[in-house]
Symmetry: C2
């Protein structure tokens, strides 16, 4: 069988692709370390939980899960179109906004085409681009922010897509309206700017540019998610907005029933759950303020964040710190994979979770200082 | 913007791709025709509804839907591995088994490669293959069955995949163990045989070949679904089994969280819901017997089916018949898209639904005979 498969699988580059390493499920950490109460602040999920209106809508739909979902997602698409002020034909729904990254790449990338990806940033851009056969051009962050002038300088005749996580993950920083305006002023029309706005709902900064405002000016794709502020990460649903002709290409590439039935009803309900969204924003705002203060007290540098997580410079090997925190029942993300070896990324939790994290962090850092 | 997009989207063939037309949602038919009670026998869903154990498992998990799913689907993969007698690394889960068609194509197809697809058969093979840039070689059915000798004759050095829906949709027929054995005896090793066994759980015929039995003999992919017998079409979950190296390629191409959290817990519970599965099989067996008898009484030819649906020759334009049935509140699938212009495909319903369908069919055929 081995020889047969070697003949069959001639895309050997597939086996060289990195595999995305998600955060560990809570149960696995509990089992491994024999812990009772574990808190997970590792995947930028909503600490408040899912929108209660979404949960109620799911309960009402449980009797119909033997039916296929509405492949056209009629109700949700029209609700979003109204909310966003665009035509329904300019919207596509994805099995998480991740899927839209892949569909956009599949629609636009041919052999030899280039995509520009910052480094470090959300890892899926590079993995998905390489899986689609694109050449990935990496542009380093500058002071942990996207460097748009440097990105502009890397554009060639072969560039098809620039991925812009705004705000960015894992840094939590954002590019300003002025910076995006300057980029688009000098960008040739054969380059799509992909605004990944998964954390859009958390942003309160005034000079943050809403990607939708560029729709009429330059080819752009804007994606957002129900996984973060709406608390529906487990259901997998996000959406993308672009020119209707580009959306039409993506619609032809997606599977007919890519977005499950419960995700559709939950997202529709969550859009009307203003209370849950307001509470979520408040929790994140207050949680960030609390953590910033505690980090200052501990003499730790952090990166001010426009999202529901904070990147923290622990001033020593962050993998060791994260392992020590794990033993205390606190899961955070060490940034080793992103090559930010002294950084941890911590999701804003509930007040109690934030306090427990700070306590565990103090304990860990004290111990590690004692050893030095 | 138009000119810009023309430059950007150079894969013009995308716009020529057919768009899969799913069956209409019940609510839409009700709205359109102002009907009170509508029955849908159009998408081969489980008339009994979802597995009650699956529904209960979902209820228990609703509090955690703000968390990402387990990207590795640890528990479900190991449960399936045990059930099927294969290693967990030989299994991949998909957002519906549809997704596995696309992932397999993306892993194996390069420019100029050919895939062999019967015509007519499940439409997604051709759409997905063309979207991946494959050349689709069509082989007509023979007496509404896959013609494996003819398929064998179309194999060239460029053939990468043969898609085999077994049992087939929309005909409900299957290829026998003897026929598959003969195909594999003469098939070069560079051709993957893709057994789509979405209706596997309904098959009772003794000479039906279980695709898994060929794993050690030839490169194959076997996919199955939770959408049909398990009643979970709305959740989108299916699985594929193949050599671990091929699975490893597909794993690198999928999105990290392709299968949602509720689908995972529901599928796991459904696998232990032996009562629901037994009742489903009984309902389908008895429903087919009833419909066959009624079709004979009406003098209508039907294709004996190994699945939970029956292809019926109405002896006249089936689109007109399906439209007339629609007005009576009965949704079935006319086979016009498949170019089987005198055929309807009807899903086995509950006893009451089958009776209502037969009544409506009688009425419709009587009226249409009157007109002649």
């Amino acid at each position: 069988m081995s020889a047969e498969l070697d003949i069959l699988i001639d895309k050997k580059f597939l086996l060289d692709l990195p595999v995305y390493q998600p955060g560990k499920p809570i149960e696995e950490v509990q089992r491994e370390h024999k812990l009772k109460a574990v808190i997970k602040l590792a995947s930028n999920e909503n600490a408040l939980g899912p929108s209660p209106k979404a949960v109620e809508a799911i309960k009402q739909s449980l009797k119909t899960i033997h039916r296929y979902p509405d492949g056209g997602a009629y109700y949700l698409k029209h609700r979003l179109a109204k909310k966003l002020g665009v035509g329904a034909s300019s919207i596509i729904l994805g099995n998480g906004s991740d899927e839209l990254i892949v569909l956009t790449l599949r629609a636009l990338i041919g052999g030899g085409d280039e995509v520009i990806v910052a480094t470090p940033t959300f890892l899926i851009y590079e993995i998905a681009a390489r899986a689609c056969g694109a050449t990935v051009v990496s542009v380093p962050l500058r002071h942990l922010r996207y460097d748009l002038p440097a990105i502009r300088r890397m554009v060639t005749a072969k560039t098809k897509i620039i991925f812009l996580a705004n705000p960015d993950n894992p840094t939590g920083t954002y590019v300003t309206k002025e910076e995006v305006d300057a980029l688009l002023d000098r960008l040739p029309p054969h380059v799509l700017v992909y605004f990944d706005e998964a954390y859009f709902e958390f942003v309160e900064e005034r000079n943050y540019p809403n990607g939708l405002h560029y729709l009429a000016r330059h080819p752009v794709m804007v994606t957002r998610s129900f996984s973060k502020a709406y608390g529906l990460a487990g259901l997998r649903i996000g959406y993308g907005v672009a020119d209707a002709r580009l959306i039409s290409c993506l619609e032809r590439l997606r599977e007919p029933f890519n977005v499950n039935l419960l995700a559709q009803v939950a997202a529709l309900a969550a859009l009307d759950d203003h209370r849950h969204l307001a509470q979520t924003r408040k929790l994140v705002r207050e949680g960030k303020r609390y953590l910033y203060r505690k980090f200052q007290e501990l003499g730790l540098r952090y990166i001010p964040s426009a999202t529901n997580f904070v990147l923290l410079d622990v001033g020593r090997d962050s993998h060791a710190v994260s392992q020590a925190l794990l033993k205390l029942g606190v899961i955070v993300r060490d940034m080793t994979v992103w090559k930010l070896h002294q950084y941890l990324r911590v999701t804003i939790g509930t007040r109690a979770e934030n306090e427990r994290f700070v306590k565990a962090l103090k304990k860990t850092l004290l111990r590690s200082s004692d050893k030095e």
